[in-house]
Symmetry: C2
Subunit: 244 residues, 2 copies
DNA sequence: ACCCGTGGTGATGTATACAAGATGGGCTCA
DNA sequence: TGAGCCCATCTTGTATACATCACCACGGGT
């Protein structure tokens, strides 16, 4: 395997498939023919199949009983459940971090990230959205690290990749919404409280905060689903969501 | 793909690998050479590699940066964390079942399973161990179903397959321990309480019970690790556990 | 004696060929 | 005319061949 950062055929397949699916280019429940895709990506079926296997694990694709895969589709309640689950698992990471004690260095790193988010929120010329998303992801990854458990870290990573459950899944496009920045400030306030709880060894508080923090994503989901078509087109993966 | 129950080459590889690893035949951190294994199982590398990919996802194998896989090794605290995580996720399933309301039919099915466990505990001629293990697994699967959420069901299934975190991971061999049956009765009492909490729509109680119930597995783990060599040989996967 | 470069060896990643099975359309028969 | 069966086609699952890359030992130079 190419060590490090070289773009392997498998990566090409993975990125290509994700992009195809989330962009809505292929519609939900449609079958994905392997040869056609392998020709499109100019790779052989072997790495393509491996990428499809991974996407099945992630839940973006479903296996068909008779063989092959199709694009998965999600209901609102699927996504709500996935978000709830993320909150629960991040909450456990936060609780363990509080109970077991996080290192001063890691906590300081959290503070630095949160300072960065403050700066992104108050950037001259308005909200620096990309920077916010990147730092937000960093903060959530750091939360998993604070628990000091490789198992937790791994599972937080995993649940964060559940389709449409990531901390920044439904942020795209919301910068059009007037009080969006205010909502980000509320999120940031929760970030600060979360770190304070961990620092103060308040496990139950940390857990509850992380859970409620994740539920902010539910509001974002509803905002986006109620939005107009222009908004819909900007949100990756929204085409996979059916009504109920 | 062969629909249904035919034994495919992939299944052969998966079962063979799992058995090799859990039996301790290959030691922790040792590399798994693909060609050698494919010859041993009399299959080609293609389905073998797919099986290895899956085991990497499950955490039983680790990918080596330079390519290939090795057998993972676990510390006691890895397993404790995995058990805690299972408790948290099963707890969430139980809470959602209570909050959203489980169907009477599903609850009745739970009761039937629990009656079966009672029967297995009091079987003429002593504890019917295999029956207990099977019914216990059924009960835990049912718990996931009660939540009414496909997402929860999927993730409970998944976390139950984390290495050495399953509800029956460390039961093997414990029938040698005198008060083992008593410990199973305690577990069964928690099962009953759990169903009662869900039936009574007591979400927080259900969640707490499921968490504490999972932690019984921690006791089993410690019993087994303190046990003698005769016990060690009977517990699948214990060879992968290193001290700290 | 020790370090560095170089070639051999075996590993994995990828491509392609082959075979079994599913799918769909057309044909036959009632 | 409609229903059921059969065959062609395409799909996937598996096997195998090939290319590339890492690891390791050996030899030469300092």
């Amino acid at each position: 395997m190419p060590a490090g950062d070289r773009m392997t055929q498998f990566d090409k397949a993975l990125l290509g498939l994700r992009s195809m699916i989330l962009s809505g280019e292929v519609e939900a429940n449609s079958r994905l023919p392997e040869v056609q895709l392998s020709e499109r990506f100019e790779i052989s079926r072997t790495p393509l199949r491996k990428a499809m296997d991974l996407l099945v694990e992630e839940g973006l694709l479903e296996r068909i009983e008779t063989g092959g895969c199709r694009v998965a589709s999600f209901t609102r309640s699927d996504i709500v459940d996935a978000i709830e689950l993320r909150g629960v698992i991040e909450g456990t990471a936060a609780r363990l971090a509080a109970e077991r004690g996080a290192s001063a260095a890691d906590l300081a790193q959290c503070d630095r990230i949160l300072d960065g988010i403050d700066a992104a929120l108050d950037a001259p010329g308005g909200l620096d959205f990309d920077r916010y998303v990147a730092l937000n992801a960093q903060f959530h990854a750091m939360l998993a690290t604070l628990s000091g458990s490789a198992v937790m870290r791994r599972e937080v990573d995993r649940v964060t990749r559940l389709p449409l459950a990531s901390p920044s899944a439904f942020l795209q496009g919301q910068d059009l919404i007037p009080d969006f920045r205010e909502s980000l400030r509320r999120a940031q306030h929760q970030h600060r409280a979360l770190v304070a709880a961990i620092r103060g060894r308040e496990g139950a508080r940390a857990e509850a905060l992380a859970r409620e923090h994740a539920r902010l994503a539910r509001q974002n989901l509803d905002h986006v689903m109620k939005g107009d078509a222009r908004l819909h087109a900007r949100v990756p993966g929204l085409a996979l969501v059916s009504a109920p």
